[in-house]
């Protein structure tokens, strides 16, 4: 058999089978030159395949537009949520606690208001009686 030549690359690429593959193995067992070539081609093949994958420049294809936008959207959504939380926390700190006013207090306030302005009404807050619901 003549030297293997291109069968070596085809073998490395998984493109060889059957009789050609058997012939190649047989030849490699007998030919130091082709065995050396196999090693060298394997090395250069590995070097090409180890080249870094180049990232597509932003904006060149649709995916380059979409991916950063998703990332940005995620960032701004988180930032907006953080701002809202801070605003709520500050509001809670500066807002005085709510006070409860009894009906009597309310009535006395209305009475005071009415004494200053008789047209203001109603003068009295009437709370409906609570109906007791039988269990």
């Amino acid at each position: 058999m003549r030297h293997s030549g291109e069968l070596i690359s085809a073998y490395l690429d998984g493109e060889l089978g059957g009789e050609e593959l058997r012939d190649l193995f047989q030849h490699l067992g007998e030919c130091g030159r082709c065995t050396d070539e196999l090693m060298q081609i394997q090395e250069v093949r590995g070097a090409i395949r180890s080249l870094p994958v180049m990232e597509v420049p932003p904006g060149l294809v649709p995916v380059a537009d979409v991916v950063p936008l998703h990332r940005n959207r995620g960032f701004w959504a988180s930032a907006a949520a953080a701002v809202v939380i801070v605003v709520i926390a500050i509001a809670a700190l500066v807002t005085p606690p709510a006070t409860t006013i009894s009906a009597d207090d309310l009535n006395s306030r209305f009475a005071a208001r009415v004494s200053l302005d008789p047209a203001f009404g109603p003068a009295k807050v009437i709370l409906p009686d609570l109906i007791e619901v039988p269990e």
């Binding site: 085809a10 493109e15 995916v63």
Partner: protein, 168 residues
């Protein structure tokens, strides 16, 4: 292999954009020419999708890509195979985020890239389609419109030339 065409060119760009860009980058050796080639390919895909006949979509796509590259080589014929400059264009790299990281990554493959650019076009495209894009010999044969035996021969001779170039 995909047997039916994606619905839109945007899907083609989304699915194959990175592969096309890497194919273009390794064939041209610089990001600007690679970007131009990707744009040209996507333009041709956009125009051609209506006429696409069901079959080997990747064969069709890579034929378009390869023809666009060859047309660019014929048209410009000034720096189609110009080797990478010793000093990589830092200005253009600085336009994208992570430029330092990208520069370091490019530097790793400088010697191999320069050796690739010294290969005659037919050997370079066969090696790049096989080792960078990951196409099978059948797919390369379909894209380049040559017999599989020719693809096999070009890939092996291309690798041999690369080995000699790298060892000299």
């Amino acid at each position: 292999m995909t047997e039916s065409a994606p619905l839109t060119w945007e899907e083609v760009a989304r699915v194959y954009g990175r592969k096309i860009y890497n194919f273009a980058y390794r064939l041209t050796g610089n990001p600007n020419d690679a970007s131009d080639l990707v744009q040209e390919v996507l333009l041709r895909v956009r125009k051609g999708l209506d006429q696409y006949q069901p079959g080997s979509f990747e064969g069709w796509l890579w034929r378009i890509t390869r023809n666009a590259f060859l047309d660019g080589v014929r048209k410009e014929n000034r720096r189609p195979t110009s080797p990478l400059p010793d000093e990589i264009d830092r200005w253009s790299l600085a336009q994208s985020p992570g430029a330092d990281v990208e520069y370091a990554r490019i530097g790793l493959g400088d010697d191999i890239q320069k050796a690739l650019l010294k290969l005659p076009v037919e050997f370079r495209e066969a090696v790049v389609m096989c080792d960078v894009v990951g196409l099978s010999y059948d797919e390369i044969a379909a894209a380049v419109a040559v017999p599989v035996g020719t693809v096999r021969s070009r890939i092996h001779r291309g690798r041999r030339m690369l080995r000699e170039s790298l060892s000299s």
